[in-house]
Symmetry: D2
């Protein structure tokens, strides 16, 4: 039985709480820390069986009973709390991204170096039933040598321009998941990135200095070519697909829907739209990733998504932005930190 | 908060325990009763938060704190325990079927008559996301007047001939779910049934006096025609589909799969087989039905599947068997009880 | 090179003319006979390369250069002209049905007995790419022993009540194709038929003594069970599907569409409706069947659909009607002729 | 009635002959010219109703009865024969590409300038039922403003390295069709192209100086982003898809198959592979494009695919190659001619 503390009781903190209570039999949540927790959330947490709720996360770090922490606080605190938690001897599950600053991620990696502590980054989509099945098809040799990887990732609604301005930009806020997926499916690193991007969804996003539509091409170390297409707004909902093409064939996913019902009538033959909300779409993956983290602690095995997996997508996002700004392909080796 | 007792800690008793613990926030399981419970199951139940485990279900019936019971014991005990539980003033969730004897079901209905107790029968498929979506399409008028209802229901593996011999026969053991689905989707009763059936899967089932393959046609009170096709063994797994055709169009489901991945290679373009095992396929529906039962108690509303819904599919199964035996269409009004 | 005469220049006569001119390289149409041919049709026929157009089909039967005739005249003339053509030593392609009177079909069969003349009935759907692919899957053993055959056959629009009254009824006018398909896919004869039918589409059809909706169950000689569902009107167009289930798996078709385009938008994920019109849907099959007829003559092989294949679906239609009228399963052996 | 001459009796010349004879009622083929025609081909042409077969195409150009020519000879002759035919006052249907040399295409355009002659380039895929349906969805406003265009185009088998060496390279030989499709679907020109490409299928192609796998990104004049992915070899056959994403939704095609049959068995749920051979896949489009050419002559309307449409994809192919060679995005305006 692994004893957990959760730092941050916002949306994702509650998702993890619910997943752990419902699915992770070998873990218990002793403490949740959040300085701004509402009474309603506190009551809900306690009803869910959380031991206690406090304001200061140092209570968690100082509690010798707590084996591991989940860092679910705001993005700008992830690397600092990671460092503190590692110093306190806690295993860490850190929501993505570790940081937008590569140097700070490097510090976390250095702090982990030589340590036996487990560190996992919250790239949940690797644990999704569809994407994991594509990966399995590749690993079983059904695709052969991988030649082309295509990721389609489109959000149902754009963020506010204000959010866009402070989010680190689309590449670090949204594409970061797709960069991780490319690495996961390719089984190797990207060497070079070229970005074609535009503001087609919301001019306010453009005024805030960001883009909302992009096609990003990557040359992978294996020689494969990867391409991501992003939009901040798909009229039909949350579009999350992957297609991997290789010497023996192709593995491709389609979107999940609420039901398989098809309605045939005078207007056409119509199925349901993709699941709209990322929490609904990826709920299973949040449970699976946290289960894996707890199992890695219990069995002393590697986590599925380590600190290096937290670093590389940020590096890719920075390269993608540099490509857009400098209007040329950018090698990942150009990004120094 | 509704306090529950569960009678029977076999497979379905454990499924309900897990669903309640994980999803039904307004209920708690105080006691589980099973005279043959293993140590392993007892430990699991207690770890899941069940208050206590006992051998004699009368402890549950006599416990004034317990509001409602789930009858998950063997089929031959359902009606007797239902009667005892009603007499003890407990709300009842009874696994299907209430009984294979119509007279005994009638006694349960009489015991409920005038009572304010809730009674729900475990026809879980009504709560399945796919079938419920078909029903919703009908209720929203998208299909128009219903003309033809088609249910395909095929098991991945046949039961042993021994089981077939004591199960009440395929119509009461397997088709009973499909009879319920026909009533649910039609929104009315069947008036007449004709059965075409055969032994094509396993000759031992035939020797045991049962059939393993059937096409059953029904005339519904609305004038619609319904048809069920059953097989005890589909080589590709558990095949569970419905198609409702009407004046404005058709709503049809396909099977659920583990993932949406399609593999294209030299052999063809291949998707996954249907989910194989009924617990995996219908897990969500078990949680939804029990949640609904608890809500009906809390809000004092009707249950979704009442005692009459437990009676009619048995009556239909008896009529289907009579049609097969007498080689003619049989009216439901011919079945007296 | 086979020299053909076509008797009847209505819709199907023109379809065959076009198919032969375009696709059947080893045949030429010397003469088309139709007493009521319009100037426009005559011009079109001549432009298509037909040698001559006449009013009296006896010119064709008396022409020693003509090897074979296609009987595309009105249904009530099929058997008489078949007999005359056989007497004149012509090979015959006869549009379905040969006759609605079994005795008259029998006469045609007797006339053919011992003759070397080829006789083919126009059950074109056997030659359709989808249905032929299902048959091929069965023949290649991919389905295993056939247990259940399901045919869905729904028209886009009902006929007028006047037509319904003189058409021989839905079973002989529409279901006859599906009876043929059941025999084709089962590879054996039906032994018994049970009909459940209703008037749900158009009350005028009921007043004319016919039905417009039916589910027809058959016991096949092999032990397999077949079921046809028919409607005279599907709001989404022409619905033509087959599903064959057996010991090793299932082969199923879906409908053809004009394109594969799927539109995803705020309303859903929508594909095209089935091809609406039978000529559009089955155009390829008309060409293939006539090509096969000409090849059978040239190579002196059996035709794909002989006179017995013209007889049996009519017999099945009569049995289906008798089942409906007498409200009981009817054995095919009860129908004497 | 338009009188045609066909120059070149190779594969595509025969395809057009067959299409015209079978489907184009308002045209006749008077002469086919090919210096290397085999006896077998000559016989086949005459049997198809072609008036005569000659060796020298100048017979066609000098024949005052002939209104229009189809240039189906080898690629290196297209521009010269186009110029001769225009000079001879013939309407021209020219197989793609007009030339690989932009200056020579320009000469053809100059020759046409001010002329009333019709000129059509053989980009047949615009006339394909699937791609035309995507275009229709865009034109009807169903996609809204176009943001992202994705073309997948993969061949079933790579060409020989020898062919690759003389074909002008993959971009001019294969991608040229996809460049045309991008322009067609975008309704505007590309402004800039970036190529990521590799040799992953056949090292011999690399030795011949060509590539066999590519992802090509384009910035369109409208602001939309387009991306083409190419492979010279898909294990599952000929993969030809398009996806257009815009402000209101997405229109996407899937591949055509020989039948709609799905086989469900212990191995999975398997549909047919895409049609393998381009002639089989695109047969309908060849007939439609030639029909359109003849109609444009008869009705004195613009052709669907003019000389400018022959120029631009070549220009795009040259820009794509330059991008690959210089490892940077290339503006189309950089390509001077």
């Amino acid at each position: 039985m692994v004893t957990l503390g959760i730092i941050g009781a916002g949306r994702i903190g509650k998702v993890h709480t619910e997943s752990i209570v419902n699915y992770v039999r070998n873990a218990r949540i002793k403490t949740v820390a959040d300085p701004y927790v509402s009474d309603e959330t506190r009551d809900w947490l306690l009803k869910m069986g959380v031991g206690s709720v406090c304001g200061d996360y140092h209570e968690i770090l100082n509690d010798p009973e707590i084996d591991a922490v989940l860092i679910c606080s705001s993005t700008d605190t992830h690397s600092d709390i990671s460092l503190e938690a590692i110093a306190a001897g806690k295993h860490v599950f850190c929501e993505k991204p570790i940081d937008h600053d590569l140097g700070r991620i490097k510090k976390v990696m250095e702090a982990l170096s030589g340590s036996k502590l487990k560190y996992q980054v919250g790239f949940n989509r690797r644990h999704d039933h569809n994407f994991a099945a594509v990966k399995r098809a590749i690993d079983e040799g059904k695709v052969g040598d991988v030649h082309i990887i295509k990721i389609t990732s489109r959000d149902p609604e754009p963020p506010s321009a204000q959010y866009a301005a402070v989010s680190g930009g689309m590449f670090l806020d949204m594409t970061i998941h797709d960069f991780d997926m490319v690495r996961y499916l390719a089984g190797c690193e990207a060497e070079e990135i070229y970005t074609q991007a535009a503001v087609l969804v919301d001019p306010e996003i453009g005024k805030a200095g960001d883009v909302d539509t992009a096609v990003i091409t990557m040359k992978m170390a294996s020689g494969a070519i990867a391409v991501i297409d992003n939009s901040r707004r798909a009229a039909y909902g949350y579009d999350q697909r992957a297609e991997v093409f290789g010497s023996k064939g192709m593995a491709a996913t389609s979107n999940d829907t609420q039901s398989t019902v098809i309605l045939s009538n005078a207007q056409g033959v119509t199925g349901e739209k993709p699941l709209y909300f990322f929490l609904e779409r990826y709920m299973q993956s949040f449970a699976t990733e946290v289960k894996g983290f707890v199992d890695a602690i219990e069995n002393d095995t590697d986590t599925a998504v380590g600190a290096i997996d937290g670093l590389m997508p940020v590096l890719m996002g920075i390269a993608a932005k540099k490509s857009l700004d400098e209007h040329r392909p950018v090698k990942l080796s150009e990004i120094v930190y």
